[in-house]
């Protein structure tokens, strides 16, 4: 991928290896390759989805971008509000701090991410105090009231404590806190997976409205593929620390080019009893990132694997404009995506 002026964030060859230590001297005996040479970019105002199964490195990628975890190698190029491009991976902590306001996070579990002993005013107002240095309590109250209204909560609630709110309301509070400093990039790590279906839709609509209103850019990490389909403009599919495929949402869902994406898509349970699966599910388990297979990490489970797949690691290549695949056989395979109702009707 090459540089482009409109990118807000560009990640190049990002790696995060966690050491495995053993024995009395805590010698390093190996590495968990949680993120293994990942490159992608997000344009301003866009929503990029990061999907994959547990342990594929999607959360580690998201956290490394925010420098909650220090990367092992690679570049994280972020365009600041002034238009300069800085490499977050190379900056010391004190130089990152002023940039923190531009990058905020929405966490998965709204029951764990709010301090039960702080009221909503203090929770949402904390970034204003710490980063903005807004010392006046009155000023903070005004700003928090605005933020609560923005996320659809009543300003009177600011004196209450988190236990008084339902899961969906708590997630709104988490969003209000994330927006307190007018961020430009919001990393949302499974923001709706802890919520009930009926509440999930409210939060997704809110996030979309806020994006339009405030011009936010989202990095959306999720495992629920129907949510991702609904919410994201483009998708990166990750498998064992690497990007298997990256492209526009509908292409990934309906015309996947990587066998893993195809298997993932055909495993999505669709809420339509007439679309019962005829496809055989993928065999085997996700390999350990501490001891990945040779060549393409997917080859032991891949129904299309050939001898070259076990030997050589495929590179992420652009197969059509904006669509990247890391598969030796990408150009020769025709793979099924999510079944469409009309196709199913024809087959029946």
């Amino acid at each position: 991928m090459h540089s482009n002026d409109s990118y807000l964030l560009e990640v190049k060859h990002l790696k995060k290896y966690f050491p495995i230590r053993e024995g009395f001297f805590r010698r390093v005996v190996g590495h968990v390759r949680a993120v293994d040479d990942v490159s992608f970019a997000i344009r301003e105002g866009e929503t990029l989805g990061l999907v994959g199964e547990s342990g594929c490195g999607k959360t580690t990628t998201a956290r490394t971008i925010l420098r909650a975890i220090d990367p092992t190698a690679g570049q994280i190029l972020f365009r600041t509000a002034q238009g300069d491009v800085v490499d977050l991976a190379a900056l010391p902590e004190k130089d990152i701090r002023p940039l923190r306001r531009d990058m905020q996070m929405i966490f998965q579990d709204p029951f764990a991410s709010l301090n039960p002993r702080m009221n909503i005013l203090d929770i949402v107002g904390e970034p204003l105090l710490v980063i903005d240095g807004m010392k006046s309590r009155k000023q903070r109250m005004e700003k928090v009231a605005q933020l609560l209204e923005l996320v659809g909560l009543r300003a009177e609630y600011m004196q209450r404590f988190p236990h008084a709110f339902s899961g969906g309301q708590r997630q709104r509070i988490v969003i209000a806190r994330a927006l307190a400093l007018n961020p430009r990039l919001v990393v949302a790590d499974e923001p709706v997976s802890a919520l009930d279906v009926s509440v999930q839709a409210q939060v997704l609509n809110l996030m979309r409205d806020l994006q339009e209103k405030l011009g936010l850019t989202y990095l959306f990490v999720a495992h629920d593929l129907s949510v991702v389909k609904h919410f994201c403009d483009r998708i990166n599919v990750m498998y064992v620390g690497k990007i298997a495929e990256s492209g526009p949402t509908s292409e990934i869902f309906f015309r996947p080019r990587h066998p893993y994406t195809s298997a993932l898509m055909s495993a999505v349970p669709i809420a339509n009893p007439r679309l019962r699966k005829t496809i055989t599910p993928l065999e085997g388990d996700v390999p350990s990132p501490a001891n990945p297979p040779s060549g393409c990490y997917f080859h032991p489970r891949c129904p299309y694997a050939t001898e070259v797949c076990a030997r050589e690691t495929p590179q992420l290549e652009e197969i059509s404009p904006g669509h990247f695949v890391s598969c030796h056989r990408a150009s020769e395979l025709t793979l099924p995506g999510v079944a469409r109702p009309e196709e199913q009707a024809l087959a029946a």
Binding site: V199, A201, P269, A271, L282, D285
Partner: protein, 333 residues
């Protein structure tokens, strides 16, 4: 055909210091032999408490306070007799001879349900020895056969494995093998795929469908995921706040939902086919706290078809509206 399990007017309450939680407040449904019944609902709808009541696993301060749980019990000679599980002593011999044998459970969290200090082989054998009059050798043979049946690679060696040595998918397979150990006639699966990834989920669902066909068991499948329900269930029970909102065959529930809650629930899930960027229809508000249940129909504060003076004053009963579906809503009175 006679139902294998028939639940009538089941009420299970929890008596806490802060008040009474009516977790299950009048639930009716039937399970016929060989049928897969999906119970679907959001958190707090009472789906787990319902099946724990059927198994008589409700612990203090909870109690089954009312209702019948009629089960067609089969004794050793193959004679059938209907017994009311609700009348049995929850710690008694009668329920213990049924639980784990004729009615088996696949719990939600296989990690939490296996003992970490016993091998999975010992645990499956224990279930066999408890309910069947067989030698240890025979129990071992049955256990290996079950593990083989659920697609466990190298079942002989895996008998010696501990649950924490297995991956999530294999652990759930071992759990399924254990629940099948005594050839249950009714298998209850409580969110068996919630904690696992989608490709593994597809494997487990396929396995359950295959096993159900081979053994011709009845299955109660509990989930909050409508996608999973659409893939596996024959018949669907939709629950909300301790009550059954609607029941019907899976096609009718998905293509002709009648209850406003079922309709709203189906609309609020993002569709894979919807054009990108479309706003999702939502259900206003959130699920009420169990201590502040609304009077009347539990769904009325969030219902688009709310009729003041009707829905908030009396509770609708589950009534058949055609020969397939039953709905508890005043719109159909």
């Amino acid at each position: 055909m006679e139902p294998l399990l028939s639940v009538r007017g089941l009420k299970t309450y929890f008596y806490l210091d802060e008040g009474t939680v009516k977790a299950v407040d009048g639930v009716d449904f039937d399970v016929f032999p060989g049928q897969i019944v999906g119970i679907v609902g959001e958190s707090g709808c009472g789906k787990s408490v319902t099946i724990k009541s059927v198994l008589r696993l409700i612990q203090n301060p909870g109690r089954v306070v009312e209702g019948e749980i009629l089960f067609r019990h089969q004794d050793e000679d193959g004679r059938e007799k209907t017994i009311d599980l609700a009348q049995l002593d929850p710690h008694g011999k009668a329920i213990r001879s049924i639980r784990g044998a004729e009615i088996a459970l696949i719990p939600q969290e296989p990690m939490a349900s296996f003992s970490p200090v016993h091998t999975i082989g010992d645990q499956i054998m224990e279930a066999v020895l408890l309910h069947q009059d067989v030698s240890k050798e025979e129990a071992r043979r049955i256990s290996i056969e079950r593990l083989h049946e659920v697609g466990m690679p190298n079942p002989e060696q895996r008998m010696k494995a501990y649950s924490w040595e297995l991956s999530g998918g294999l652990r759930q397979r071992a759990m399924i093998a254990m629940s099948l150990a005594c050839n249950p006639r009714l298998l209850i699966a409580d969110e068996p795929t919630t904690a696992i990834d989608v490709t593994t989920q597809a494997q487990v669902l396929r396995l359950l469908l295959d096993l159900q066909e081979q053994h011709n068991m009845a299955v109660i499948f509990i989930t909050h995921d409508l996608g999973v329900i659409a893939q596996i269930a024959d018949f669907v029970v939709v629950m909300y706040l301790g009550r059954v909102m609607e029941t019907g065959p899976v096609e009718d529930i998905f293509f002709h939902p009648q209850h406003p809650y079922t309709k709203a629930l189906l609309e609020s899930i993002p569709s894979i086919y919807a054009p990108a960027g479309e706003r999702l229809p939502t259900i206003e508000g959130s699920i009420p706290h169990p201590f502040s249940r609304p009077s009347g129909c539990p769904f009325y504060p969030r219902c688009k078809a709310f009729m003041p003076g009707v829905c908030n004053t009396s509770t609708p009963q589950l009534k058949p509206i055609n020969d397939r579906q039953a709905v508890s809503c005043f719109l159909y009175d």
